[in-house]
């Protein structure tokens, strides 16, 4: 489990850092996707620490989050449609910043600095 925790933590931070670079370079679609992936990795880490399990699909993730933490569920659920649309729509700086905040919120719940 420790190894899985480490992978999730490193992935979440890596996505976050890459997202910040994309944001600085005004590449908002990339920033949205990467901040969202960071949010997901932090959420999975949160679930892993709480339950000893991490989800294997989006459906399982939503189900677990809904049961374990409505606060995180609401963040992921509200941002998910934009992640889905990021392939076919132009994303905005404002949206990237909102999802960045959400990733930070989940990280902070575990006292992780990003």
């Amino acid at each position: 489990m420790k190894e899985k925790e480490q992978i999730l933590l490193e992935s979440a931070k890596e996505y976050y850092k890459s997202a910040e670079t994309s944001l600085k370079n005004s590449q908002y679609n990339s920033a949205v996707v990467l901040f969202f992936k960071s949010l997901i990795a932090f959420s999975d880490l949160y679930l892993l620490r709480k339950t000893g399990e991490s989800p294997s699909s989006h459906n399982a993730r939503f189900r677990m989050l809904q049961e374990i933490t409505l606060e995180v569920y609401n963040l992921v659920d509200k941002d998910f449609p934009f992640y889905q649309d990021s392939y076919v729509q132009r994303m905005s700086k404002e949206l990237a910043e909102v999802i960045k905040d959400d990733a930070r919120t989940v990280a902070k719940k575990m006292e992780i600095e990003v």
Binding site: D77, K78, Q89, S92, E94
Partner: protein
């Protein structure tokens, strides 16, 4: 089931930042099997963060009133009319308000109309008669025009509401393939 959905009286609480909440996508067309529900929340110009937060609250309320998966997206005028919003045309033409059950396009002073042009010239006489029965009914049975709401505005041209367009076209195509659908808006209601 479709019509039940958009005709349903939704109990929704929302702030004054909300201009409209509307159904679009498959939930609009009569007779189709619905797997999920697509909803748009149109906001006045407020911060995206607030739009998202309020959208989640509205989504929860909808979820309590229907058992299907729900996809809700917030827009303001700027993002709605952004060229990157590929769903824009479909929402504008087919969207139905969940607040007042009117056409979503009424927010912009527009009424959507579907015009179906058809030609019967190449049909045999019996098929022409059959087509007439389909539109106008026979022996106490309503035809499409009366059953779903439609009007013969000129010879070979029917006008109906967008949500009924598919029903008309599917049934008419069983008799003639010579059908063209035109979609447009008229000013006012």
């Amino acid at each position: 089931m479709m019509q039940e959905l958009w005709q349903k009286k939704w109990k929704l609480k929302y702030s004054q930042d909300v201009i409209d909440i509307a159904l679009f996508g498959s939930a609009i067309f009569g007779g189709e099997k619905i797997n999920d529900i697509d909803v748009i929340v149109l906001f006045k110009k407020i911060a995206l963060k607030d739009q998202l937060h309020q959208t989640q609250e509205i989504k929860k309320q909808i979820q309590e009133q229907v058992s299907l998966p729900i996809h809700v997206k917030p827009f303001d005028m700027e993002s709605f009319f952004d060229e990157g919003n590929f769903a824009q045309g479909g929402i504008l033409f087919y969207g139905k308000s969940m607040i007042n059950r009117k056409d979503f396009s009424e927010n912009f002073g527009l009424t959507p109309k579907s015009r179906i042009r058809y030609a019967l010239d190449s049909l045999k006489k019996k098929d022409k008669v059959k087509f007439n029965y389909l539109l106008s009914g026979k022996q106490g049975h309503y035809g499409l025009l009366r059953k779903y709401g439609g009007e013969l505005v000129a010879p070979g041209i029917i006008e109906t509401m967008p949500e009924n367009e598919k029903i008309f076209v599917e049934q008419m195509k069983r008799i003639t393939k010579d059908i063209i659908v035109e979609r447009g808006f008229v000013l006012g209601s």
